[in-house]
């Protein structure tokens, strides 16, 4: 028996995912609408001071993006292609800064360096102070380069090895082949990571505050605390203009689409191995070892106290729910983004949330929540806030896996008699599950370290690792920050391991594939 696909007259018909994606995009725009409402009674639009803030913000963003590319892309090449011992451990170690909130990193770097800092005190080595634009760039780069590393690495893994092999056998050196043959094809991956870094830098508050750099987030925070709510909203809208610009620039970058092929593997010599270790060591030392060491020394010096394990459970529970919901919502948005131009726009809209500083998003959602009293001050509203802020992480991850999917697979399923729905459930979904797990893990990591929205929107009395850390940090009792800080890193590291575990099988298959 032969079954035929229903032949449809080509009509202007929206893909099935559009209505859902539209609803989600509108939901993501709701906080922006609240901001317009709050900003409408503001007096000042722009002044000379804003110009300085604007240039600081842009400089920090540009330098952080450049720094993340300089660190993230070579590390992506190493972790994707180099045949190293314990490569999985390397990968987890190099991605681990994602598990550390940048405010913790900024604070420990600040505490460790400079005259009279922890390094000076413990080792007697005088160190230059880390602060200002340079300090903020260093910290932001150290804690956001994994975004570039992971997205670039995913692109690199999907490239066919024979082009590099061809270039090399034609007499091009390895470095030149990677530069000229590999990187141009990984440009979309690099751009996707750079976008996340740019948005993350724009919305981060802790680092510029600790490093004493006047950026939009810091000025927004100052205004907010001085009860200039409308001015804060106005500044947030200005920040959103930059976010919009970044989103637009990223969407202009187009890479080539090619079929995945054989996986490239390189066998570095001993000298090269040493070089890799020497180059990666300072990054890991500064981003991971230093904060853990500082926490450790505080733990030894001041001991623990006042900490309850329910905080860790609260953190994990809320973050897990957020990850789950974000991935469920990400599927139609990613589907719409692939389906057409309008869908692509809807997808872009959801990215705004990632660029809104947490305290502004928190305030906006207080207003939204007050319209829905059954949601106000419940875990549900907090999860919604997490989802709105971090949805792009899930969307990006799901979309890029779905884009890499061979369309003939779905066609094959349809020809075997499956409905579009069945083909989606039985082919597309299982094959994109890796991207979904990775996206969920990213959302989980970010939600774990989110602070301002957690404080404002959680149920009354809901204490998480991040809020507890904030409490003790603000009061200057650093010793008590050690246990929650270490736990935060530990739980996040588990999320990270989960995210990276999906790759194992595919990599194994390519490694052992020999003709």
């Amino acid at each position: 028996m032969t079954r035929w696909l229903p032949v449809r007259w080509p009509t202007v018909r929206w893909p099935v995912s559009y209505p859902l994606a539209l609803v989600i995009a509108l939901l993501a725009l709701a906080p922006v609408g609240v901001l317009f409402g709050l900003a409408s009674d503001s007096a000042q639009l722009f002044d000379a001071h804003n110009l300085r803030v604007l240039s600081n913000t842009l400089l920090l963003m540009v330098f952080t993006v450049l720094g993340s590319i300089v660190i993230g892309v070579p590390l992506a090449l190493v972790t994707a292609y180099m045949h190293l011992r314990w490569r999985r451990l390397w990968l987890i170690l190099l991605a681990a800064p994602l598990a550390i909130p940048s405010y913790i990193g900024a604070f420990t770097l600040y505490a460790a360096f400079g005259p009279g800092g922890e390094i000076d005190r413990l080792l007697g080595l005088p160190m230059p102070a880390v602060d200002g634009l340079a300090g903020a760039t260093l910290v932001m780069t150290l804690y956001s380069y994994p975004f570039v590393m992971l997205t670039t690495r995913a692109s690199l893994l999907s490239l066919d090895a024979s082009l590099v092999n061809a270039a090399r056998t034609l007499g091009m050196s390895l470095g030149a082949s990677l530069w000229r043959v590999v990187l141009p094809r990984a440009i979309t991956g690099i751009a996707a990571g750079a976008l996340l870094v740019a948005l993350y830098t724009l919305s981060d508050f802790g680092t510029p505050a600790i490093m004493r750099l006047d950026t939009f987030t810091r000025v927004i925070f100052v205004e907010y605390n001085a009860f200039g709510l409308s001015q804060a909203a106005m500044l947030s809208l200005q920040l959103l203009v930059i976010v919009g610009l970044v989103l637009f620039l990223e969407s202009r970058i187009r890479g080539s689409v090619e079929k995945p092929g054989r996986h490239l593997l390189l066998w570095p010599g001993p000298g090269m191995k040493l070089g890799i270790v020497l180059a990666a060591a300072p990054v890991t030392l500064l981003a991971i070892v230093l904060p853990l060491a500082v926490f450790g020394s505080w733990l030894v010096r001041e001991g623990t106290g006042g900490f309850e394990f329910s905080y860790a459970w609260n953190s994990a529970r809320a973050s897990f729910l957020a990850a789950l919901v974000a991935v469920i919502l990400a599927v139609p948005v990613a589907h719409a983004a692939i389906a057409g131009k309008a869908g692509r726009l809807m997808e872009r809209v959801t990215y705004f949330g990632f660029g809104v500083p947490g305290i502004v998003m928190g305030t906006a959602l207080v207003y939204v929540g007050l319209r829905l009293p059954f949601l106000y001050q419940t875990l549900g509203l907090l999860v919604l806030a997490y989802v709105l802020r971090f949805l792009p992480l899930a969307v990006g991850s799901v979309r890029s896996t779905a884009e890499g999917l061979d369309p003939s697979l779905v066609q094959a399923a349809r020809l075997l008699g499956a409905s579009p729905r069945e083909a989606f459930q039985r082919i597309t979904l299982p094959l994109t599950v890796r991207g979904m797990v990775a996206g969920a893990a990213l959302v989980f990591l970010e939600a774990m370290r989110e602070l301002p929205a957690t404080l404002m929107l959680g149920p009354t009395g809901f204490e998480t690792l991040a809020t507890y850390l904030w409490r003790v940090y603000e009061a200057g009792y650093f010793g008590r920050a050690a246990i929650p800080g270490l736990l935060l890193v530990l739980i996040s590291a588990l999320g990270l391991a989960l995210m990276l575990s999906g790759e194992r099988r595919t990599e194994f298959a390519t490694e052992t594939h020999q003709g």
């Binding site: 061809a166 056998t169 007499g171 092929g261």
Partner: protein, 337 residues
């Protein structure tokens, strides 16, 4: 002259290539064949320097590569043609071929010779598979490699194209006068274009010889089966003659065979005549266009395959008469227990 001695390659704890010895004459085309997983692609990658070797050495002209002192691919002056063409998608045909060339005269020469003149400014994605592989070949040859490696260059092409392109490539290689190692899993391709053929099994070279020798006097039953239809008929070797149920036949002993032996029969070593009082019964038949392939169960238990003109017609179950028609000596293997 390319010289490979004792070459071994390991992946983790698995040995993929085991003690390989090879030497290539100056314009020789060597075919490497074997089933999937026999290590043939790995050998190419090791020769190109794309995977590290665990033992032995590779030597060509002024360079010599060993496990401790590997020569990087770009220093080996090796050309490689890939199964999936590996053309740079962002460069035109001409730019691909001129990739690292200062003097483009060579590129013009090969573009012309391979009939690619009209496509100079096209991007690879506009070309057909055969054209793509010609560009890839032109690119390799224009860079004047000291030797060239071809990794299943025809496996992604249409069957009709394969036949002609196979010869085009061979002629181009001969015209360039470079030694080549060509990996394939197609035994017909291996036998027809190679000056010599190497048959691989589990990372070891089972036999390395001229196509005729490999086909007619295979070093093992594996080689015999891999290179074409092979039937084995029990017999007894006496001097240079083998006595079988189909009568005597001239024999060459392999691996010191004597006494009870199995005689290797190719489908064209036999004749078949439908006959009520025959010595066998047809099991199945395959129509091949100009010929038919019959499988015949003969008295005594063995099954033999025979290829005859399509005009000879018989149905499964019909009795037939079989005879050995060849006059050249046939390979004789020790009887299997």
């Amino acid at each position: 002259m390319l010289k490979v001695s004792n070459l071994s390659v390991n992946y983790g704890s698995t040995r993929v290539v085991d003690n390989l010895d090879l030497a290539l004459a100056d314009d020789e085309v060597l075919m490497l064949v074997g089933p999937t997983g026999c290590g043939k692609t790995t050998i190419l990658q090791a020769l190109a320097g794309l995977v590290p070797i665990s033992g032995g050495e590779i030597q060509l002209g002024h360079w010599r590569s060993t496990p401790s002192k590997a020569v990087p691919p770009e220093k080996r002056n090796v050309g490689m043609v890939f199964q999936d063409f590996a053309l740079f998608p962002h460069l035109t045909v001409e730019q691909n071929v001129c990739f690292r060339l200062r003097d483009t005269a060579k590129a013009d020469h090969w573009l012309q010779l391979l009939g690619l003149d009209d496509f100079r400014h096209a991007r690879p994605n506009r070309l057909s598979g055969g054209q793509k592989q010609r560009v890839a070949l032109a690119r390799s040859l224009a860079h004047e490699p000291a030797f060239i490696l071809l990794d299943e260059p025809l496996s992604n092409l249409d069957a009709a194209l394969k036949d002609s392109l196979r010869w085009e490539i061979r002629e181009a290689l001969k015209a360039a006068g470079v030694p080549a190692i060509w990996v394939t899993h197609d035994q017909e391709e291996a036998l027809s274009v190679g000056d010599r053929v190497g048959i691989l099994k589990d990372g070891r070279l089972e036999q390395l010889d001229t196509p005729e020798k490999c086909y007619a006097e295979p070093a093992s039953r594996f080689v015999a089966r891999f290179l074409g239809e092979a039937s084995f008929l029990p017999g007894r070797l006496q001097g240079e003659q083998v006595a079988t149920v189909l009568g005597p036949a001239p024999g060459v002993p392999i691996n010191g065979a004597s006494g009870d032996v199995d005689l290797l029969l190719r489908p064209d070593d036999l004749s078949l005549t439908p006959m009520e009082t025959g010595n066998g019964v047809i099991d199945w038949v395959r129509y091949e266009g100009s010929s038919r392939l019959y499988a015949v169960n003969i008295d005594g238990g063995a099954q033999l395959k025979v290829r005859v003109n399509h005009e000879v017609r018989a149905q499964p179950g019909e009795p037939v008469h079989m005879a050995i028609t060849t006059t050249h000596p046939l390979a004789v293997f020790p009887r299997q227990q």
